[in-house]
Amino acid sequence: MGRDLRVAVIGLGKMGLLHASILNSMPNIEVSALCEKSFLIRRIFRKIFKEARLVGDVEKLSSSEIDAVYVTTPIPSHYFITKDVYLRGLTNNVFVEKTLGANLPQSKELCEIARNCGGINMVGYMKRFSVTFKKTKALLDQSVLGHLKSFETYAYSSDFASENTLSRSASRGGVLCDLGSHIVDLALWFFGDLDVESAVMESTNGSGSEDTADFKVRSLDGLEGHFEVSWCKRGYRLPEFGLTIRGSNGTVRADGDKVELDLEDEKTRWFKQDLDDKVRFLLGDPEYCREDEYFTNSISTNIRPEPSFDSATKVDHVIDQVRRRATADG
């Protein structure tokens, strides 16, 4: 592509600001338009993004020439905004922060629309761009564990660990979408399709918000998995994700900091310091920079990126199964 790629970011919360900043630091990318419904935030950001067009709703982006859109609004609005972007023909290159929709029917419909419109689509499951989880995937692809038997995985944060913060938790779309979706995506990436066998979900403050989830899955070839998700866990200042995978040859333990391979005659540990965790521009975690470079490169090269809307819909399918199973299991 000879000219800069013109990107619009919809939603200037912390994720929108993060992506807009990283994109702005990239060569050949122009953050040309921003959409934020809050008048106050628009007024502040007008002084920060002096060269971008700043509008209050998606409709007003129609007159802008845009090559790609980032949807970084809260999860409950992803479906409506993403659909609007496609149906108004703003662009057919769309990045949506996870999860794609707030439920499975929404995600399926967005997949269908995206398929009809063509273009490049991707969902922000950034843990796939972590050096430790990439290393884990490489080890699995090399079959170092032999026949896979079981895995356990967790996603914890202390975001709502104190009682006076729980009333806010519901507005985030529930812990399954907010935190759990990352480890569901990693598990699908590592192991393929999964069926939920049992599930328990709890609302810690009793208001019906999803605050913890515990569920068991099985893959087509019999691999058993156990997920634990909570944003009420003490001691997790930042969200943490990890998993232990057991196979006939040994075990792999991985989290955001390290990978430990424990085979019968060999133990190896890689910290992220060992795995070249550097990026062109670091803001937040290195994963975000890699993710944005990958998505924009996919547009330039017209190569389908992963995780696509289709892959993200599989995550929503598992989340849907967990919710149904938790209701059925009572």
Partner: protein, 300 residues
């Protein structure tokens, strides 16, 4: 290099329950290290063994540590190098308060209850004009007063450093005016402006492009033999350091977050030009004494 003077600073990451090597390790240390009594003892031990000052993100925890350190009449307060704002805490608060708007409302309440009338007036002007630079100044005024209240006016604020999350975002967004306004404001207050970054080479490039002289600014950035957190890689950061033309950089992550031992870390650090100091976090009394003693012997 033996004639160089070095500033050796104690960092506060362990006191916030942070380990960049492994969060599992941070949790393994338990809660004791996050207690101000334990943390202030570690800071004192480091100071007794060669550290000159304390670099810290301004938070309730670190302000309590400062109160304890400054409580003893016999002890001299170390030089202070606060980092503002404590961005990770504000990201967490934004999550809990319902996003950036909720966070703004929360900060407004804190500012009003601080009775810091100068900062309140500036904050009011910033809100009316919706001017980020004025809001930043109001925020700085608020934090400086919080630090001085905690130390009872003792000790010297050698520099106030803009936290990496804000500094790197401002770099990415080409906000030269924000850096200029920040630098000028702190110079007016007779405090050395500082900037923490994990994109050191990018910062040096941008400052040149903006015709901003970095000489009067203290810069904190990662430097270690592994190149850990040196973005985009070790070589461009080393080249940028050489080009700087002033000895005004504090090296962070010198131990690559506990991956390197202090002796090999010092071996690399002492060969680099334009470094004026290092900052190292300590989580045990033994580390606090041995690490700073070793760095003092190796570097000075």
């Amino acid at each position: 290099m033996a004639d160089r003077t070095w500033i050796l600073l104690v960092g506060d990451n362990p006191f916030h329950g942070v380990s960049h090597l492994s969060q599992e390790r941070a949790r393994g240390r338990g809660d004791e290290i996050t207690l101000p009594e334990k943390a202030s003892h570690l800071v004192r031990t480091a100071l007794d063994n060669g550290a000159d000052g304390f670099m810290f993100s301004v938070s309730d925890t670190t302000l309590s540590i400062l109160e304890l350190i400054s409580g003893s009449e016999n002890d001299e307060l170390p030089d202070l190098y606060p980092l503002v704002p404590y961005a990770y805490e504000y990201v967490r608060l934004a999550t809990q308060a319902g996003g950036i708007s909720g966070l703004g409302r929360r900060f407004a309440r804190q500012l009003l209850s601080s009775r810091n009338f100068k900062a309140i007036a500036m904050g009011f002007r910033g809100v009316v004009a919706m001017d980020p630079a004025t809001l930043l100044k109001a925020y700085l005024g608020y934090e400086i007063q919080r630090i001085r209240s905690s130390t009872g006016g003792k000790g010297s604020i050698r520099s106030i450093l803009l936290h990496e999350m804000i500094a790197d975002m401002a770099l990415a967004l080409n906000l030269d005016w924000l850096f200029k306004s920040y630098i000028d404001f702190l110079k007016e207050l007779k405090i050395r402006p500082g900037i923490e970054t994990r994109n050191f080479a990018y910062l040096v490039d941008r400052f040149q492009e903006w015709d901003l002289d970095p000489k009067g600014v203290l810069i904190a950035a990662p430097f270690n033999r592994l190149g850990f957190q040196m973005n985009p890689s070790r070589e461009p950061c080393e080249r940028a350091l050489e080009q700087l033309g002033a000895r005004n950089v504090i090296a962070m992550s010198v131990l690559a977050s506990g991956y390197l031992d202090p002796a090999e870390a010092a071996e690399y650090i002492k060969k680099l030009p334009n470094l004026t100091g290092i900052v190292v976090g300590v989580s045990k009394e033994k580390h606090a004494s041995e690490t700073f003693r070793l760095f003092r012997e190796e570097l000075i």
